[in-house]
Subunit: 184 residues, 2 copies
DNA sequence: CAGGTTACCGGAGAGGTCTCCGTTTCACCA
DNA sequence: TGGTGAAACGGAGACCTCTCCGGTAACCTG
């Protein structure tokens, strides 16, 4: 996932510089090649890869904060809405994040892609599990649905063309997904 | 999508050779670089790209036949099963094709990806529409669901890791999708 | 504070995708 | 049966991802 911050100060420095460069690159243009990021950081491409073995791992590091927000949102929503509304609200937020912040989309996409790198996608699964548990307890959702299956289904959000009524389409599909979870 | 067969015989020949080379490459190894396919066809990479502007367009041309099979299957299923069983059966078949034939997966993925190139993804939408219409007529499915939304949802099938219980997961998710379409 | 280990660095290189454009060749017509 | 213009060809080149390994220098230890 991420190289552990070891004793070497140069390693830590480079790690920092890479994150800064990546953040700049992403906020400026919404995307950049790894080569360009390494160059911007004044570091060799090899160094970038040692610190962040995959493209996602870099992005995850960048957007850890936002993802955490998403995760924390689940219990917050549950606190002041009925379970179903909370679930649907959370889905909406996922969609919104995805359209807004390139990085979050990337991560969820990667997570859903079966990257199996539990480290950072487990929390997302956990958030979903929480939301679903509330609905199950209430009797409105069917029990025994695997939250990972649901995360996987959310992956559809990133195959929707954003312009041209994509927002409406996303809403419709989220409705379908929720309906699929309802107890009959 | 595909270059129109013009008067030039060399164009037609190369088109043919590319298809043959691609088919060989895909059946032999399940996948190949475009460079390799062009080389195998004895043609420049530029020629390959002129005939097939995108990777998908090449694969679509290759698997047009299989996709047609899938499309024809919809009415066949409807003829000898109740609508819901037909729908679910068709979904299963899509999943099976996807795991079996690389190309079909590619196409549906591309189609669902909003490639907007109606030419070859409209038939898939139409197949779904047929299946759904039967369910609606029978009263078991909700009306007014956009078949494209459903096709989009099927895209999840190609984010499932095939090994490691992927088959079971696909079945579970297809159940969820169908449940989402049921009238409540 | 000198020397040795060893983690870390950087970039060359392999292999891909896709574009661009100078060159070749075909089909048509006088 | 040429001659000719448009269409098709092909590969160099720009740019990307990712790997590998010889060189470098930061820490530790005596």
């Amino acid at each position: 996932m991420d190289v552990s911050p070891s004793g070497r100060t140069d390693a830590r420095t480079n790690h920092e510089r890479l994150l800064v460069a990546a953040r700049e690159a992403f906020t400026v243009s919404g995307g950049a090649s790894l080569t360009a990021i390494a160059k911007r950081a004044g570091v060799g491409i090899g160094t970038l890869y040692r610190h962040f073995p995959t493209r996602e791992s870099l992005i995850v590091a960048l957007y850890r904060h936002d993802i955490q927000e998403l995760i924390d949102l689940a219990p917050a929503l549950l606190a002041d809405r009925p379970p179903l509304a909370a679930l649907r609200g959370w889905f909406d937020e996922v969609a919104r994040y995805g359209q807004l912040k390139y990085g979050v989309a990337e991560v969820i996409h990667a997570a859903a892609g079966g990257g199996l790198d539990d480290e950072y996608y487990a929390p997302l699964v956990h958030a979903i599990a929480q939301l679903m548990a509330a609905g199950v307890a209430e009797g409105s959702l069917k029990p025994d649905v695997d939250p990972e299956d649901v995360l996987l289904q959310l992956g559809v959000l990133w195959r929707i063309n954003p312009d041209n009524g994509g927002q409406a389409r996303a809403a419709r599909i989220l409705d379908l997904i929720v309906d699929g979870l309802l107890r009959r």
